[in-house]
Structures are given as structure tokens and as C-alpha cells.
């Protein structure tokens, strides 16, 4: 089947798949981190992605700098995430998981409708900071796409180093493994939860700003991404950071290759098939068992 496909197309789709995979990994890392530590399925994650992009639009318009917009948006949405966790999720700690699902679903509706009310239905544009192209076989390929992949990888690497070596990283990992014993060791677990939610929210916002120039910013832009991110989180193993990153790249590559034959909209079916197969045959994750 591959015999008739020029290898340049396969190479281009590989690059596309990795670029999309890295941004998806960035969205999914926040989601899986929040699930891993708090057992909360955050349905508002896509809206944090969207809000990040909108704040990026505003800060870019006032400051003129994409990079300032990226940093400010990440920090502001992280603060908003902390406020959301303290006001809405902290009181629900230890309750039926369904209550947190409903709470985050409610938050997602509020944020989406707030964005529609404030910014209207017309998509806004974030000007990409790097406009050059390079020759990738017969294509003029934008440098910016590679920058997104590199920055996403850098942010994920920073998260990994923080979790591995930072004082609060050790607290987060200890809390993920045994919330009760972490408390008994003097770790302020409610604040660890807030910190993790803020980090997840900040990562969603950063991916929103980074991806904004490619798709345009509108109130519903989070939906597609969060759906894909949920697939990635399940395929990677719920709460498993490394698994999620591998799953994001794997699924994005599969979709990129599938779109050689079918339209990109139809290629999404591939990820749904992977999701169903994972749930049927390896419910703890496709790549590595979830370390719980």
C-alpha cells in the first residue's frame, strides 16, 4: 500500500505528525497531570486552552510582542486555574468523581459563553512571531511550525525536570502515589493540588497561544483539542505523563499518515479506533502501565 506513495510525502507527513503531536502532548500533559494527582477529569481544559489564546490576542495587541503574550497568558491562566481549583474543586475533594466531572463541565460552559460574550463569534488572529519558510522537498514549510514543536518539547522537558528534581516536584509525585501519607509527612496536599491545577492550566494556555497563529482564535477552539487530548490521556494510560507524550506523537503520526489517503477530517477516525482498541485490550495504557 505504501509502495505507490512518494517518500517525500511520507517525510512531510512525519514532520507534520511530530509537530501536531508535540502541541497535543503539551495540552495532554496538563490534563494527565491533573488526573494523575487529583483524580479529576478536567472538562474545562479546552477552555483554558481557548482563554490562553484570547489573552494572547489581547496582550499581543497591547505589547506588540508574541513572546510577552505567551508568558503573560501562561501566568494569568495559571492564576485563573488556581482560583478555579480553590473555589470549585477543593470543596469537592474526596466526593464522588461524578461531582468533579459536572463541576468542570459547568466551568467549561461558563468560560466558553463568557468568551463568546466578550469576543463575539468571529475568529481572531494571532500573528506568528517567525514568518520565514524553508524548503521541505516541494513545500515551503513554515519555520514557525518547527518552533512550536521545539517550544512544546522544551516546556514538557522543563516540567519533567521540575517533577524529577524540584522540591515541589517530589511533593507532587509523593502526593500522586499516596495522598494520605504525603499529608502525614507534612506536605500541604490541598496546595499541591492547587499548584498542579495551575501548572496544567498554564500549559493549556501556552499551547493555546502557540497554536493560535495556525488556526485562528475562537470560543470553540478548545473542543477539538480537548477531545483529542482525552484520547491521548486514555491511550497513554490515565495519569501517566510519559505515556501521554508518546501517545500524542503516536496518534498524531497515525492521523498524519492517514490523511495521505483520506481528508484530515476523516483521519480523526484513526484516533478513535486507537482509543477503542486501547480500552478493549490495554485499558491501563498502550505504552507503559500506569504507575499507581
Amino acid at each position: 500500500m505504501l509502495a505507490g506513495i512518494p517518500w517525500e510525502i511520507i517525510a512531510i507527513q512525519t514532520v507534520n505528525g511530530i509537530v501536531t503531536g508535540m502541541i497535543l502532548a503539551l495540552v495532554a500533559s496538563g490534563l494527565t497531570l491533573i488526573f494523575g494527582i487529583m483524580d479529576v477529569v478536567n472538562f474545562a481544559h479546552g477552555e483554558l486552552f481557548m482563554l490562553g489564546a484570547y489573552i494572547g490576542v489581547i496582550v499581543l495587541a497591547t505589547s506588540g510582542s508574541f513572546w510577552i503574550a505567551l508568558v503573560v497568558s501562561t501566568l494569568l491562566v495559571a492564576l485563573l486555574g488556581a482560583a478555579m481549583q480553590i473555589s470549585t474543586l477543593r470543596p469537592l475533594l474526596g466526593r464522588d468523581p461524578l461531582t468533579t466531572i459536572l463541576a468542570t463541565f459547568g466551568l467549561s460552559l461558563v468560560l466558553q459563553n463568557y468568551a463568546l460574550w466578550q469576543f463575539g463569534p468571529v475568529a481572531r488572529k494571532i500573528q506568528e512571531p517567525i514568518t520565514g519558510h524553508f524548503q521541505l522537498f516541494y513545500l515551503d514549510y513554515p519555520w514557525y511550525r518547527l518552533v512550536i514543536a521545539g517550544l512544546s518539547a522544551a516546556i514538557i522537558a522543563a516540567l519533567y525536570l521540575f517533577l524529577k528534581y524540584g522540591r515541589y516536584g517530589v511533593w507532587i509525585r509523593a502526593t500522586t502515589q499516596d495522598r494520605v501519607m504525603a499529608q502525614a509527612m507534612g506536605i500541604p496536599v490541598p496546595w499541591v493540588h492547587t499548584m498542579v491545577f495551575a501548572i496544567g492550566a498554564g500549559m493549556a494556555a501556552a499551547s493555546g497561544v502557540l497554536f493560535g497563529p495556525l488556526v485562528g482564535v475562537n470560543h470553540a477552539m478548545g473542543l477539538d483539542w480537548v477531545l483529542k487530548a482525552f484520547i491521548v490521556v486514555v491511550v497513554g494510560g490515565m495519569g501517566n505523563l510519559g505515556g501521554s507524550i508518546l501517545a500524542a506523537i503516536f496518534i498524531s503520526l497515525l492521523e498524519a499518515y492517514a490523511s495521505i489517503w483520506v481528508s484530515p477530517a476523516q483521519a480523526i477516525i484513526v484516533s478513535s479506533v486507537v482509543l477503542v482498541l486501547t480500552l478493549l485490550f490495554r485499558p491501563t495504557g498502550l505504552f507503559v502501565p500506569t504507575p499507581k
Binding site: 494520605v180 501519607m181 506536605i187
Partner: protein, 249 residues
């Protein structure tokens, strides 16, 4: 409470006072008015058959379970209802029955959960680690190994060592010798002595009667969710009728 209505504790003010503690798990009434005291630097045993509420007493003192009635006072301050992490930082450490070490964290990372507190200088951290590794050289050898790969005895050492990193004034020690080889039991016994010499109080829940009699200064006996009797350890022997009455051994 029977024979010794007044606590035979030292005359100094108690470090921990537990008064009329009632605790429920759902609808099950587990603790029916537990009262006890532990003096500064004192080793106090808590004996009783399985299921009488010994572990629940420790969990309630630690703040991991909220009592429906009664209070826990630590150094004169009520701690009932405070979150466990606040209680831990005040100076109460907990070593649970099933050890509950962080299995995916290395030995060092397990210790860091207690060491990385505000106000602990790097020099003090090194000092605490050096002292711990002197007592437990096995932990030093395995410092970069994941906690889950340690043997049962090593995990118990790590659980106690991790608690020591908090520099607590009291350690709530729940069945530390359960399932351990005799050689390890001796080592745990030694570490209880070391902690006692250093002025750390211990509330020791144990099934091992000889060890509890040797290691502790006083013993409380629990039955049906309440303290029924207490006595100085020096007044008891392994074959004492009191031991038979409350432990059935």
C-alpha cells in the same frame, strides 16, 4: 479505666493528651472515648487485641481521621480538626502499620518528603541524613533505589527514617515489627532506644509483648475501642494476668 485511675506519667506536663476520643468509620463506632497521655521523651505502649482501635487512635491523633467527639492536645495546643500536614509540621510523625513508603520514589526522595521543609538549612539536612545513615547503613547503600524494590525490613527502616527527617517530638509507631525477621526486630528495638535517648517520645502500637514491655515506660491496654487499663511497664511481666486479660496470650 480500672486500677490506675491516675496516669503514672512523669510529673512534667504531657506532650500529647488525648481526651475522650470518639471516632466513626461511616456508621461504625470505632473509638468509644479513648483517653491517654504521653510525656516528653516517653515511650508509651498501646496494647490490645486486633480490631480494638489502636491504629485508629494513632490515625485520629495524626489528623488522618476526624473524631466526632473528644480532643487531642499537643504541647498545650488543641490540634483536633487541624489538617494532618499541619500536625506533622508541629512535631508529630506517623509510621503506619503497612509502612506506606512512596514506592516509585527513590530512598533519598522518600527522605526528602520530610527534609524539604521551610527553615531547614542545607547543613542541617546533611546532618540529619548522616545521622540516619549511621543508624541505617542499608539505606545509604540503597539511596538511589526505588522504595518499592526494598525488602520488608528495609522498607520499615525507610518508613521510620522518613519520619525522623521531620525532627518530630513524638513518633506514632504502628506495629513496626510486624512480619519482620528476628534480626530486623532487634534493629527496630535498637532504633526505638536511640530515639528515646534523643528525647523523642514514641506511642508504640505492637503485638510483640516482650518488646513493648522492654522498650516502653508505660503501657495502655485497649479493649472495645477504649482504654481499659494502664500501668508502668516495670510492674508487668510477659505472663502477667493483665496481659492475658487484654491480649489473650
Amino acid at each position: 479505666m480500672t486500677s490506675h485511675a491516675t496516669s503514672p506519667a512523669a510529673s512534667s506536663a504531657p506532650l500529647v493528651t488525648v481526651e475522650d476520643l470518639h471516632t466513626f468509620y461511616g456508621k461504625s463506632h470505632i473509638l468509644h472515648g479513648v483517653s491517654l497521655t504521653v510525656g516528653p521523651g516517653e515511650v508509651v505502649g498501646l496494647l490490645g487485641r486486633n480490631g480494638v482501635g489502636k491504629s485508629t487512635t494513632l490515625k485520629t491523633i495524626m489528623g488522618l481521621v476526624t473524631p466526632s467527639q473528644g480532643k487531642v492536645v499537643f504541647e498545650g495546643k488543641p490540634v483536633t480538626g487541624l489538617p494532618a500536614h499541619t500536625i506533622a509540621r508541629m512535631g508529630i510523625a506517623y509510621v503506619p502499620e503497612d509502612r506506606r513508603i512512596f514506592k516509585l520514589l527513590t530512598v533519598m526522595e522518600n527522605l526528602r518528603t520530610g527534609l524539604d521543609r521551610a527553615g531547614v538549612t542545607e547543613a542541617r539536612k546533611q546532618e540529619l541524613l548522616a545521622k540516619l545513615f549511621e543508624y541505617f547503613p542499608r539505606l545509604a547503600e540503597r539511596r538511589n533505589q526505588a522504595g518499592g524494590t526494598l525488602s520488608g525490613g528495609e522498607q520499615q527502616m525507610l518508613a521510620i527514617g522518613r519520619a525522623m527527617m521531620l525532627e518530630p517530638k513524638i513518633i506514632l509507631l504502628d506495629e513496626p515489627t510486624e512480619g519482620l525477621m528476628p534480626r530486623m526486630v532487634g534493629q527496630i528495638r535498637q532504633i526505638v532506644d536511640v530515639l528515646h535517648r534523643e528525647g523523642v517520645a514514641i506511642l508504640l502500637v505492637e503485638q510483640n509483648v516482650p518488646l513493648t514491655l522492654e522498650a516502653s515506660q508505660r503501657i495502655y491496654f485497649m479493649e472495645k475501642g477504649a482504654v481499659r487499663h494502664h500501668a508502668k511497664s516495670s510492674e508487668l511481666t510477659v505472663n502477667d494476668p493483665v496481659i492475658h486479660q487484654y491480649l489473650g496470650v
